[in-house]
Subunit: 228 residues, 2 copies
């Protein structure tokens, strides 16, 4: 059919902004490029979408190929398509943002050809293409979203302390929160279940909690809305 020749076609890629949390600050996973252009430069993991592949599938495939990450929380962010954003020609990129738990973290620096490393969001290196712009959009989304969606739990281990959760919120929101009010509010929401387990370690043991997803789903079906 003549259709395939009617319009010139841009190339299509996906790029992923992968956030992690180490108990202290928010981190982003970057890879060092092994190809021109921007050879040796840090960049977001990503690559070309295959012809019969769903966009999210492409993002997950690239994540696994470049960072060994599987089964992470992944959500479409925004599509970047300014002409000139890629020196090779017209390349449109669908950006995703991902949240990974500490136990899913890939090694800080692989021995593989493709080097991957975590960087604190405050201390990022120069990035290839328009990846700094994509990253800013992802940070804005995370910031706007964490207050009314339970995405914080995607960044913590399955069992976590309220102290960890608060540190995460403080890192994402960029301000400190009152400990008593934070606990009161979160526990009142009633989808964080306290466990009979405690941390061991160099201070007073802290009670562990778990995010109760079935409970959360039940609440949201009833038109429930929270805000932190």
């Amino acid at each position: 059919m003549s259709f395939t020749y009617e319009y010139p076609r841009p190339s299509l890629t996906v790029d992923c902004v992968v956030f992690g949390f180490d108990g202290n600050g928010l981190q982003v996973l970057l890879i060092r490029r092994g190809l021109v252009p921007f050879l040796g430069c840090w960049a977001l993991p990503g690559g070309f979408v295959l012809m019969d592949e769903d966009l999210e599938t492409a993002a997950r495939r690239e994540l696994q190929e470049e960072t060994s990450l599987r089964e992470v929380f992944l959500e479409q962010l925004q599509t970047f398509g300014a002409p000139g954003r890629d020196p090779r020609g017209r390349v449109v990129s669908v950006a995703y943002f991902a949240l990974v738990r500490p136990d899913q973290h890939p090694a800080k620096s692989d021995t593989d050809a493709s080097e991957a490393a975590w960087f604190p969001v405050g201390k990022l290196p120069e990035l290839a293409f328009d990846h700094d712009e994509i990253l800013r959009a992802a940070q804005a989304r995370l910031h706007g979203k964490v207050r009314w969606q339970p995405i914080g739990f995607e960044l913590l281990p399955e069992k976590f302390t309220l102290g960890q959760l608060q540190a995460l919120y403080e890192a994402v929101l960029g301000r400190s929160l009152d400990k008593r009010n934070f606990r009161k509010k979160l526990l009142a929401l009633d989808f964080i279940a306290p466990l009979e387990e405690f941390t061991a370690g160099s201070h007073r043991p802290a009670r562990l909690h778990r995010f109760d997803r079935p409970r959360y789903d039940a609440l949201t079906e009833g038109g429930f809305h929270f805000e932190i």
Copy 2:
């Protein structure tokens, strides 16, 4: 360079979900397709992205070509790229959503070849491609957004009554609001300026108001956040 042949390329389109408000209910602007596939079927305005054209520019161009709309509020919504969403082959579509004021509304039915018409969001015809899915995503975005961003004003004339504004919020949110509380809250936000003008007409004249964008911008720069 060999790059251009390394990867097969999907075709890239933009589609626009255009919302309008007629004082009563929320409406969506659709066009009747003049080409196969889905010839004669209602669809979202949109079309192919040119090779050296920004995505938003493409959306604005298509809007003007197909619906004569210019200078509308336009925001990127989401990108739809499931293989098989277009029977012609792999076509990825970047969806936008637009808000237009009554004075920008194109004629209800053009005499032109390309027919365009407004439909109430509750009574939509069958749509081409996956446009029903795109439309649902746009409605969800509008619903989630209207409460904390001043997008309501993009759907009303420059000078409006609080009654009109409330009717719009009720249409978007799908529930009725208390008149006194609504007025109290909106006026307290302090970016809606009352004017010394009034409607004429068949009842008690209503005071007109104007959205004070400079005032709004000043407030948001100071980290201000509202919710209706």
